[in-house]
């Protein structure tokens, strides 16, 4: 059963840049109410689209390095969900969504990106 992987900056190379499939990174922290709202929704995503996308999250209060990295990625508000393909950011979802909106938006971002079409595993016949 796929699940959400908690990552730190040190994991970026392996988990995001080196990923064979698209990756979502949620930038969040424990004092953010909207992040709390989104927790059960995001945690339901692996069961729905976890075969096509890797789902990860980074707590920006865990370390200064995490915060620096989030700022460098252009994150200015939490929660921000950045979608990466081949290590490149292809889109952002900022703030609260319903479960249906969330997986539709992630799949739409992946579907629209040429990088991602290559990165998404082909469906088996």
């Amino acid at each position: 059963m796929p699940e959400i992987k908690d990552i730190q900056v040190a994991d970026w190379e392996t988990e995001i840049t080196g990923s064979k499939i698209p990756v979502v990174v949620e930038f969040w922290h424990q004092k953010c109410v909207a992040c709390k709202e989104m927790k059960p929704i995001y945690e339901a995503l692996p069961g729905r689209i976890g075969d096509r996308v890797k789902l990860t999250r980074m707590n920006i209060l865990d370390s200064k390095e995490n915060r620096r990295h989030a700022i460098k990625q252009g994150v200015r508000s939490t929660p921000t969900f950045l979608v990466y393909c081949d290590g490149r950011p292809i889109g952002a979802i900022i703030g609260i969504r319903t479960l249906n909106e969330m997986d539709a938006e992630v799949l739409a971002l992946i579907g629209m990106s040429d990088n991602c079409l290559l990165a998404t595993p082909l469906e088996e016949e």
């Binding site: 922290h29 004092k31 703030g95």
Partner: protein, 306 residues
């Protein structure tokens, strides 16, 4: 259509307290909170002045406790928004998405909305450098500069919260001194990361993808300068959140619901919290008026059960 003894609109401290009291009095209670229950206090780091909570307690922690307490006695918490109300006939009606519910009594506790500067760029750059909640986003301004617009309690509090991360916090205020309480004012003045620019208004926010600068205009001479900044937090006051009650309840020129204490002009409809409080605006006062509105609703139902 479901009929409730009490429908509470608003899930901040006032609404949560009202629902706690009415459900504990065994009144069938619907608590309509919108998507993020907790109201404004959910947006603050530490609440240091709620009686009994003397250990460090964050806003979100207090909200969690209030929600647990409010639902413990059976109030139905509903995260949809009330979009339309009809208070012309009893039972009163409240629209929730595609569902219409009926209420013998209504407690209105919708709080207030942050006032905006009214600049086009403010909406365009929201979440991209323009923000309203230091608790939520301060960490993303670590070692950066942030302009806080305003000079009241909330501007000072937000500036203090931001200073934990930001390299510099610049409070820009149109008056010649801040109007916030002395304790916050002293803390801000003594904080080496905070500085003040008085007699100045923000006339524009500049940035393509992210906020890069603001235009500052000195008053009264009108001299304009471009001031580099990575973030803009707007804390210039609030307006009562009474849009959906226009035409249903009597409102004054500022949009406040005309009331006598917690009673409105309509029988069985009560108000609570910051919505109708321009003076105190604290969690404890919001909770207190939520309690008063609930007790009045209970009395009303005992005297006029239909």
């Amino acid at each position: 259509m479901s009929l409730y003894d009490v429908v509470v609109i608003g899930g901040g401290p006032a609404g949560l307290t009202a629902a706690l009291y009415t459900s504990r009095a065994r009144l069938k209670t619907k608590l309509i909170t919108g998507p993020t229950p907790g109201g404004q206090i959910a947006l603050t780091y530490n609440v240091n002045n709620y009686p009994g909570l003397h250990e460090p307690t964050t806003g979100p922690e207090l909200v969690e406790r209030l929600i647990t307490h409010a639902t413990k006695f059976g109030a139905e918490l509903d995260r949809r928004e009330a979009t339309v109300v009809d208070f012309s006939l009893k039972p009163y009606k409240v629209q929730l998405g595609s569902e219409l519910i009926a209420a013998k009594t209504v407690i209105v506790a919708t709080g207030s909305l942050n006032r905006k500067l009214g600049l086009e760029a403010e909406d365009q750059l929201m979440g991209k450098g323009v923000f309203v909640c230091a608790t939520c986003d301060a960490a993303l301004y670590e070692d950066l500069r942030v302009v806080v617009v305003g000079g009241g309690d909330s501007a000072l509090q937000e500036a203090l919260d931001l200073s934990k991360f930001a390299e510099e916090v610049v409070i820009v205020h149109r008056g010649d001194d801040v109007t916030g309480c002395q304790c916050l004012k002293t803390q801000a003045q003594e904080n080496p990361k905070i500085r003040f620019i008085f007699n100045t208004v923000v006339t524009d926010i500049i940035g393509e993808e992210y906020v890069e600068a603001v235009k500052l205009m000195k008053t009264p001479d009108g001299v304009v300068e471009t001031f580099q900044t990575d973030g803009v937090l707007v804390a210039i006051g609030w307006d009562p959140n009474t849009g959906i009650f226009k035409g249903q309840l009597e409102l004054d020129a500022d949009g406040n619901i005309v009331s006598d204490g917690v009673k409105t002009g309509k029988p069985g409809i009560f108000v609570a919290g910051d919505l109708n409080d321009r003076v105190y605006r604290q969690v404890v006062t919001a909770c207190a008026s939520g309690c008063m509105a609930a007790i009045e609703a209970e009395r009303y139902l005992t005297q006029k059960p239909d």
